[in-house]
């Protein structure tokens, strides 16, 4: 009887810990992660969906985390992966969408706010390859250092540095072409 009781209490304790830990993480980093996703996908509703999915996965897989103290890194990776999926699908959707006449000023560039003189740089980011975009966002928006970006994207630090350099150069080229 005692054994049975002990056996039942263990998973409950784990569930409690998971709830508390994910709740704390959510409370402290929800906004930050939504904003990260927003910068990546450009649409707040989709960003919220991505983050919701990330938290669901994190909660369900909490007991499988090798290092629960790194939960934020896992959550951030999960958000980035979710953003990748969204962008992959939207690329496919764009490819197969019927070609409609686009009124001047309503295209992608028009999503920037009218009061933002520099919105072109954030928009230009969307033209970069996925890896470069992710590295630049994590480096310059999330303010992660090279090691943290590497951990989030699961790539080598040297790859982060080189991708960042190439991304900035590509961004400069894109801007230069646009202005030229």
């Amino acid at each position: 009887m005692n054994t049975s009781a002990a056996g039942l209490s263990h998973p409950k304790e784990e569930a409690r810990h998971a709830t508390v830990a994910v709740t704390d993480l959510f409370r402290e980093h929800h906004l930050e992660l939504v904003r990260l996703a927003l910068v990546m996908v450009g649409d707040q509703e989709t960003a919220e969906d991505v983050v919701q999915d990330a938290f669901e996965r994190l909660y369900l897989g909490w007991n499988r985390l090798r290092e629960p103290s790194n939960a934020l890194v896992y959550a951030r990776s999960s958000v980035i992966n979710g953003c990748r999926s969204v962008m992959r699908r939207s690329a496919v959707a764009r490819k197969h969408a019927p070609k409609l006449a686009v009124t001047s000023g309503t295209g992608a560039a028009g999503t920037g706010s009218a009061d933002d003189d520099h919105a072109d740089l954030a928009d230009a980011l969307q033209l970069l390859p996925r890896r470069q975009r992710e590295v630049l966002v994590l480096r310059y928006y999330a303010d992660l250092d090279v090691a943290e970006v590497a951990a989030t994207l699961r790539i080598a630090p040297s790859a982060v540095r080189s991708t960042c350099t190439r991304g900035l150069a590509a961004l400069a080229r894109v801007l230069g072409e646009d202005r030229g």
Binding site: V20, T23, L38, E48, A122
Partner: protein, 409 residues
């Protein structure tokens, strides 16, 4: 940093700030998602068939748990609280009084005996039950009698300061942020003297800096500043006053005014929020009415507590149910003073009673800082101390049913 790096940082920050804290939807149950969300999930899922079958239910449980936790832990007053029961947001520590005597148990949850013995406070982690420390509160000399009915413990809303009463003395137990005992000190003699004749419960202010209690004979409520010993008092005549709860809302104490003398035109009991920020006076002048009507369906009103939004009371009731066998019943109910109606029964237990009129202890013992986690006792009914978890009591982890219980968080 180059110009383009600076501009990129600025632009991304500006883009991100379009998502403002108030504009973000809370986490939600997947089934309530919009179609875009459903499409997203369908396309992104790469799960096994079994996992796919289980995912909706598991995700629903997960999101509900997270939402409940976030609401409990993070919502300020004014929001309707989630149901009691989530472990999120519960106080980190709980303290029990362990009384060791040579005695017997005259009633459920009561130990009575004689010294030599000791009263010890034990600190445990609320989630894991892990032992964090213990400290001797008082030695009971040989031959001196003591009943745990006469001991009590109450917690400040900050979960770091506890007041402990044993016959003739009151002690303040302070915890460090990691739950270790920082120290125990007796109250100044003047404060202890002022407390003679007081009626339990004694309340601690949310920050643990003041004590509130009632002087039954003088029919007044007193508030003592622990650091200085300064006393402020509020008279209550012609009523009898009882301090019930010091919610985590600053200077307001939930009190009950009992109309035991039958003042004409007045209800038998008034629940009022007393502002103790001033220098003292009369309770009617410094308080506002919360609820004044007794239940009419046979409930005995006892041990009310208030949720942070001030709208709801959790009430513990003990009632007789007559028929064949004499039984007693304990109910913890949620009641809306605004709507003047019972919202729901949170907990219900029955116990046969051998003596007519005997009520096994049952009630809300302590409320977590958020007001949403109830520590309740049901000695004689079930497990003893526990957290209200859904509709049942989950025993506090690590708590030993040693028949000398007093607990607070």
């Amino acid at each position: 940093m180059t110009d383009i790096e600076e501009r990129l940082r600025h632009d991304l920050k500006k883009r991100a700030e379009r998502a403002r804290p108030g504009s973000i939807r809370p986490l939600r149950v997947p089934s309530a998602s919009r179609r875009s969300r459903a499409r997203y999930r369908l396309a992104s899922a790469r799960r096994s068939r079994a996992a796919r079958a289980l995912a909706p239910a598991a995700a629903m449980v997960a999101v509900i748990a997270i939402i409940a936790g976030v609401w409990m832990a993070g919502q300020p007053g004014g929001e309707r609280p989630a149901a009691a029961g989530s472990s999120a947001g519960i106080p980190k520590y709980y303290v029990t009084l362990k009384t060791a005597l040579r005695g017997k148990n005259p009633a459920p949850g009561v130990l009575a005996g004689v010294g030599p013995g000791r009263v010890t406070a034990v600190v445990r982690d609320s989630l894991t039950g892990a032992f964090l420390g213990s400290v001797l509160i008082e030695r009971v000399p040989r031959g001196k009698s003591l009943s745990t009915r006469a001991t009590w413990i109450t917690a400040a809303a900050n979960d770091r300061v506890f007041a402990i009463g044993v016959p003739g003395d009151v002690y303040i137990l302070r915890l460090r942020s990691d739950g270790q005992v920082a120290g125990v000190s007796p109250l100044p003699a003047a404060v202890s003297k002022a407390m003679s004749g007081s009626l339990y419960p004694v309340l601690l202010s949310p920050a643990g800096t003041e004590l509130a209690f009632t002087n039954v004979t003088e029919r007044q409520l007193l508030v003592v500043t622990l650091a200085t010993g300064a006393v402020r008092s509020w008279k209550a005549r012609p009523y009898f006053v009882n301090a019930v709860q010091w919610p985590d809302t600053g200077n307001k104490i939930l009190i009950v005014l009992n109309n035991l003398n039958g003042q004409p035109g007045q209800p038998p009991a008034q629940f009022r929020l007393l502002d103790v920020g001033g220098t003292g006076g009369h309770v009617l002048a410094d308080s506002r009415l919360v609820y004044s009507s007794p239940f009419k369906d046979g409930y005995n009103l006892s041990e009310p507590v208030m949720t942070p939004n001030g709208d709801l009371l959790f009430l513990a009731h003990s009632v007789y149910t007559r028929g064949g066998v004499q039984t007693t019943a304990c109910r913890v109910v949620e009641f809306s003073p605004g709507a003047r109606r019972l919202l729901r029964v949170l907990y219900k237990a029955h116990a046969p009673s051998k003596a007519v009129g005997y009520f096994p202890p049952c009630g809300v013992v302590s409320v977590g800082p958020t007001g949403l986690n109830l520590l309740i006792e049901d000695f004689g009914y079930g497990t003893g101390f526990g957290r209200l978890d859904g509709s049942r009591i989950t025993a506090l982890p690590g708590w030993a049913n040693d028949a000398s219980p007093q607990a607070a968080w």
